[in-house]
């Protein structure tokens, strides 16, 4: 992750050197955290299986399953895509000093809205795809806005409200899927199949690689531009760093809190869109393109893992892409790892948890590798913000 930053050459590249150096420094702690977590994971496998060779083979399998072939790589990209969106969602809220734990619920709402537009309407693809995406954005946006309003109006802490709203969202989705939106021809709780015109176009059909990954990168760039290059982004970050100063400067803290939560929800909603309109289910020889629909139990934790993704990416949109690729790769490679070595798949969860732990308590990493303490520049506002303060 840091490697590319240190390979500055001569000529024009020289001007990029300071920039690369800064990126390298920012990525240093996360990279060391990943490295440490992988070492600890290897030791764990070593201890439980009694063989160092198994530990090494497990990582070999992980690599092979995540990056070893074009198909493996496509699988990694597909699994990274929702992580990019949910990671961006959490990261954007961080920048405003908010800890959005509700990505899972926002994702579910986005997915169900996108699915509804996808199956309910018939129209040309040129119109249908954007509308499906917009529906998902809208679902997440509105759902994310609620905890923002609660925070701004009543001081209810977003950590609590977003956790509660996850449950609400999952129950609402369950009601919708077993009643109003249920496919009457199916015994399962799922929507009817989305019209093919609403599917995200395929980049490489034979590898099931859909274009959601391109959308994710574009959105990451947009988020970076929004936060760093627009006045709204500046306000949002100012509120995150120091709400009192922001208020003194004439910025509306309440509006920024509500806006940040809503945008965060919209990003999580996009993760729902790519999972519903991008990932093919029911691929068989008869239906090589598969179907797309939304059913119960489909998310499998992309929203919950997103907190780790955002922290690992240090809240930086490009950092989030890197972290999402790592998490997507771990998810994609786990099968091969287990196939090759019969190591429990849970080892992946352990490694992810270790990464999160080492990032959250980065003192451990700094001590371990004798790095200097974090500068104010690198400190993360979200983890130090207070509880229950009314911001309106």
């Amino acid at each position: 992750m840091t490697g590319q930053a240190t390979t500055a050459g001569d000529g024009p590249a020289r001007q990029l050197w300071p920039l690369a150096r800064r990126a390298g420094q920012a990525a240093l702690v996360p990279a060391l955290a990943i490295f440490t977590a992988l070492i600890l994971g290897a030791i764990l496998i070593w201890l439980t299986t009694g063989s160092l060779a198994t530990a090494l083979a497990a990582y070999g399998g992980l690599w092979e399953g995540a990056l070893g072939s074009p198909r493996a790589l496509a699988g990694t990209l597909v699994r990274s895509t929702p992580y990019i969106f949910t990671g961006l969602a959490v990261a954007l809220a961080f920048k405003c000093g908010l800890f959005n734990i509700g990505a899972e619920g926002q994702l579910a709402l986005g997915a169900v809205c996108a699915a509804w537009v996808g199956y309910r309407f018939q129209m040309p693809g040129l119109l249908h795809v954007p509308l499906t995406i917009l529906a998902g954005i809208a679902g997440g946006f509105l759902w994310g806005m609620v905890p923002g309003i609660l925070k701004a109006r009543t001081g209810a802490h977003e950590v609590i409200t977003t956790i509660m709203m996850n449950y609400l969202a999952l129950q609402i989705v369950q009601i919708l899927l077993s009643g109003p939106l249920k496919d009457p021809r199916s015994v399962a709780s799922q929507t009817p199949a989305l019209a093919p015109t609403s599917w995200l176009p395929m980049l490489i059909p034979s590898l099931q690689l859909h274009s959601g990954v391109l959308l994710a990168v574009l959105v990451a760039i947009a988020v970076w531009w929004f936060l760093g290059r627009t006045i709204w982004g500046f306000e949002l970050r100012t509120v995150g760093v120091n709400p009192a100063a922001a208020r003194y400067a004439g910025m509306s803290v309440a509006r920024n809190v509500v806006g940040a939560m809503a945008l965060s929800g919209a990003l999580a909603g996009l993760a729902g869109v790519v999972e519903v309109a991008g990932v093919a289910l029911d691929v068989t020889t008869v239906t090589p393109t598969g179907n797309r629909y939304f059913g119960l139990g489909f998310s499998s934790g992309y929203g919950f893992d997103s907190i780790a993704v955002a922290l690992l990416g240090r809240g930086n949109p490009f950092g989030v892409i890197g972290a999402a690729l790592l998490f997507g790769g771990l998810r994609a490679g786990a099968t091969r790892m287990q196939f090759n070595t019969q190591v429990p798949g849970e080892i992946i969860s352990v490694i992810q948890a270790l990464i999160l732990l080492l990032i959250a308590a980065d003192v451990i990493v700094r001590r371990l590798y004798r790095l200097r303490a974090a500068t104010a520049d690198e400190a993360q506002p979200a983890l130090t913000s207070g509880w229950g303060e009314k911001v309106a």
Partner: protein
């Protein structure tokens, strides 16, 4: 019947995505209908050690339920046939095909897939790889979808329910028996319930029967309502029942928990699918037995059939029976055991019929 809960949830995604079909079609590495086909290759697998792979349903191989019982089937193949075995646990229903494909790519001889929900992915993989034998546990193969290399292992729940009913009718003191089931709209659950009813009637017509299906709620609630299961079981005990059979995911488990609550009153309960003495631990003091599907021998026998070149494709009916009596051993006399053993054999041979149709008429 934890199975059904999963089934319902993951049906939603069933037939999970992917690659295997498409890739098998375009990949040059795939054996394109290798000539030494089915019957012709007789003897070729005779002495050879089989490579047997297993893909679980969402869950793990130590779930004390379907996945574990199936896995124990291939472990037995490893011990008795010297098979080389390997498993992959499914963590996300979208990965069914990908997980099966791991074994396809390595040209395994037999691939066992566990659960109803992974059925479509299994069908697709079997179609794409005719040289590999597939065993689908709990997967009924519809007519028209048969393949020469695919066997679906299913079980006759009505016979298991019948045995449970017969035993309960022998053991009951109050001549009053209860049954708490998740739904009558999902055939396996209904068959357990009606088999139970038939078993009681045939054994002791004087026994009063209280059977209730939780069909008053949607399919989403019906398997996940332990509070209802418990309340219903308690109501049955209040009305004089001394044994209750609980079936259907957590709803059924709720009935077992209800019996556990009355353990001082001498009531008993009967579990379902696998030996629930292992899974509903709080009910251990009151579990008489469980009406079980014999997955381990079912899977093993199919693997052995491949080894012996006697593989039969299509629907294969596995055996059912009753789980050990554990703490209630003393309540079941030698005479009762003999009658149950005879009934088990007679049901298998067809000498005794349950009279329960495959689906609710």
């Amino acid at each position: 019947m934890e199975r059904f809960v999963k089934r319902r949830e993951f049906l939603a995604l069933s037939l999970a995505a992917t690659l295997s079909a498409t890739l098998a079609a375009c990949g040059a590495a795939t054996p394109t209908a290798t000539p030494p086909a089915a019957g012709g290759a007789a003897g070729s697998t005779g002495g050879k050690k089989l490579k047997v792979g297993l893909v679980t349903d969402v869950g793990s191989v130590n779930d004390k339920s379907f996945n574990q019982s199936s896995y124990e089937g291939i472990v037995r193949a490893q011990k008795e046939l010297g098979s080389e075995i390997k498993y992959v646990e499914t963590k996300d229903a979208k990965d069914y095909s990908k997980n099966i494909d791991q074994f396809v790519q390595e040209k395994y001889d037999v691939i066992v897939t566990v659960g109803f929900a992974i059925g479509e992915a299994t069908l697709a993989a079997a179609k794409a790889s005719p040289s590999i034998k597939f065993i689908g546990v709990d997967q009924f193969i519809a007519s028209g979808a048969e393949l020469p290399n695919l066997a679906g292992l299913t079980f006759e729940e009505d016979k298991a329910g019948y045995l449970a009913g017969a035993l309960a009718a022998m053991v009951t003191k109050t001549k009053n028996l209860g049954g708490v089931f998740a739904t009558d709209t999902v055939p396996p659950v209904w068959r357990f319930g009606e088999g139970y009813r038939a078993g009681i009637k045939a054994t002791d017509p004087s026994v009063q029967i209280q059977i209730i299906y939780h069909s008053d709620v949607g399919l989403d609630k019906t398997f996940t309502d332990p509070a209802w299961g418990k309340a219903t079981a308690l109501a049955m005990f209040d009305k004089g029942a001394d044994i209750v059979f609980g079936g259907g995911g957590n709803t059924g488990n709720g009935a077992l928990a209800g019996a556990a609550e009355r353990k001082d009153k001498g009531v008993l309960c009967i579990g379902v699918d696998t030996d629930q003495y292992e899974t509903v631990t709080e009910a251990q003091p009151v579990i008489l037995t469980s009406a079980i599907k014999l997955l381990t021998p079912g899977v093993f026998n199919l693997v052995k059939a491949v080894q012996d070149n006697a593989f039969k494709s299509g629907n294969v009916v596995g055996d059912v029976g009753l789980a050990p009596f554990h703490q209630q051993e003393s309540k079941v006399t030698a005479e009762m055991k003999a009658r149950i053993d005879k009934l088990t054999a007679d049901l298998k041979s067809g000498a005794v019929k349950t009279g329960v149709p495959p689906v609710k008429p």
